[in-house]
Every structure is written in structure tokens, then in C-alpha cells.
Symmetry: C2
Subunit: 179 residues, 2 copies
Amino acid sequence: MVDLPPFSSNFILHWGEMGTKWGVNRTVAQIHALLFISEEPLNAEDICNRLGVARSNVSNSLKELQNWGIVNVIHLSGDRRDHFESVKDVYELFRIIITERKKREIDPTLRNLRKSAEEAGQTNDINDSYAKGQLEELLGFFEMVSDFYNQMDKMPTKSAVKIIGMGDKIAKTLGGFGK
Amino acid sequence: MVDLPPFSSNFILHWGEMGTKWGVNRTVAQIHALLFISEEPLNAEDICNRLGVARSNVSNSLKELQNWGIVNVIHLSGDRRDHFESVKDVYELFRIIITERKKREIDPTLRNLRKSAEEAGQTNDINDSYAKGQLEELLGFFEMVSDFYNQMDKMPTKSAVKIIGMGDKIAKTLGGFGK
DNA sequence: CGGTTGTTTCCGTTAAGAGAGAAATCAAAA
DNA sequence: TTTTGATTTCTCTCTTAACGGAAACAACCG
């Protein structure tokens, strides 16, 4: 971890570690952490040197970060090399991540549940009716979550933040109805 | 996949597959899926037979599901064997999962960010000020998310559901402010 | 054309995790 | 105490992912 203050390396290492728990590989998360706290865009060479990882690894990791949509290519005048920068706004960053995770982790299940529920609907075996009901419950839940995500995604970031931040007030208002 | 209607095996297999994307192993997710759609509690032997996996694997997986808090032991009269049942209410199920994931995936980062931000606060090197600011932004975001989770957790399930379900209406109300 | 940059694709190594099976251990009921 | 069920531990295998290095390739520019 060359040329970085201790608190930065600490953060980068931790972010890499957590990355593995979030389903992205360590290097990918580290590179993202580095770019996120870098004021200027960095080129691939810079990243290699700072993190001490192989060039090919950096190249592939950058590609994955671009697939996620949280890292963009920047061209500096007078320099032919690609430079990379992370989405810098935290709210925007997580909006993208959440949308992407929904696409990968929710939508396939939603499709499968719809299919399963449909198939289940065609059987009338009394033994299967409980399973059928549970699948329908699950499907309903996933539909709801999916709708919620879609609405948050359409919303301007600030409104979404406001909803999250106002969680307690909304809860109090609605609490009476929910009981 | 013995003694199960096609839509059930389909669901169990898919849930197992998605489990790997959610960070739990395949067998653990499959067992959970099986228990979730089973009306009666199953014993370890049953699970072995239905899913065709090793007994030890079932034992360890059940333990992990109990650690997550989404599977409980049940004792049936006249049967000394442990029986297992999943949390059956979908909303309750995901409330538990989300709380648990927060504990594993958010809280450690929150702690680390607090530490990093504190360390960063002590340096006055002008070169580090951007990184410092980004870390503070990130910390603020994680604090907000954490608070939101805590509030949802304290809330009766129905209120939480109501907030999620009313996402669009709340968005419309707040939309004007957010723009 | 030669030099630089970037991507892609191999290959080989290493590390980590999942999974199965066997045996030892433990606990409680009969 | 004996028996049954459950957990724990250990070992072994298999698979996957990560990683680095090297080379091939394409694109571009001077």
C-alpha cells in the first residue's frame, strides 16, 4: 500500500475484506475504495503501484467495476492513458449498487417464483396446498420489494434519502394504523 | 429430490442456487427452502432423504440456520428426535435476515469507518483532506442506514410493511421537497 | 513503421469453501 | 447400563475463485 496515509490503507483493506462478504472479490473492492477516496482519476499503472497487485488483475477488476456502473473512464488532455474515477456521491453510489443487486439477486428469484407459483396453481393435490400457499406468500413479498426498489430508483436521490432519514417519523405516523 | 412435487423441487433448487449469490451455501439454502414449504416440522433424517445430502452436512447446516434465527427446534410428543421448522411468516423471516445481515455486513464497516474517520481527523495534511471528506460522507451514510434499520427493527412488522408498500405515495408527498 | 497503451487470453499456482463420510463424543430416554 | 439420536471433529476430495505472469492482439499516435 504505497504512498497512502494509514487511515486510507486501513479503509482500503477493510473495504476489500467486506467486499468478500458482499459478494465481490477483494481486489475489486480495494480498487473501488482507492478510487473513491482519490481526488484525481487514476490510471491502471497508478492503481497497480498503490495496491501492489498485478496489472491484469487491475484491468479485469476495473472492467467489473464499470459493469457495476460505479467506476467511469476519464480522459485527461495530453495523456493517452485511460484514467478511472469512482462515482463520488455516496447516495448515488449506493443507488446504483442497490439497483444492480436487485437485478442480480431479486429479479431472477421473482421470475422463478412466478413460474413456480403458476405451476403450483395447476395442481390440486391437497398435500401440496400448504407449499403452494407459502410460495404465494413469498411471491407477494418479492413483488412488493421489487416495486419498492423500482420506485426508489425513479425517485430523485434526495427524496429517497429523505424517506430513509425520516424512517422514525413516518413510523410514528403510521404506527397507530399498523398495530 | 425425493417425494416432492415438481414445483417444490424447482423452488428448492432455485433457492439453493440464489443462496450462493446471497452469501450462504447451497445446502443451507436448500434446507431452508424445504422447511419453509413444509407444513410439518421435519427431522434430520427426513431432510437427508428428501434432499439427498449427507447427514453431517444436514446437521451443520441446521446449526447455521439456527444461528441465523430462521429455523427452530420442535419436539413432537412420542418422538425423541429433534424436528425443525422454519419461521413461516415471510415478513418476520426477512426482518430477521435483514437484522442479521446488518450485524454482519454493516456494523463492522460502521465501526471501521468511525475509527478511520477519527484517525483521519487528526491529520492536517492538505493532501489527505479529500479522502478525509469522502470517509466522513461514507460514515454519515452508514450511520443513517444503521439508524433506519434499527427503527424498522423496533417497529411492529405491519408498520414496516406499510412503509414499504406505501413507497410511492410517500415519494409523491416528499417529491416536491426533494427536487 | 516503431512505440505506447490497453485488452484479452492463456497457463499455473494458491487459497478457500463446500461437501461427504467415518468415527468419536455427548446426552437423554428406556 | 444400554440404546438411540444428535452433535462434533477430522479427513479427504472437488470445485471455484483469486492472482500473477506472460504473451498475443488490437488500436492508436507520432
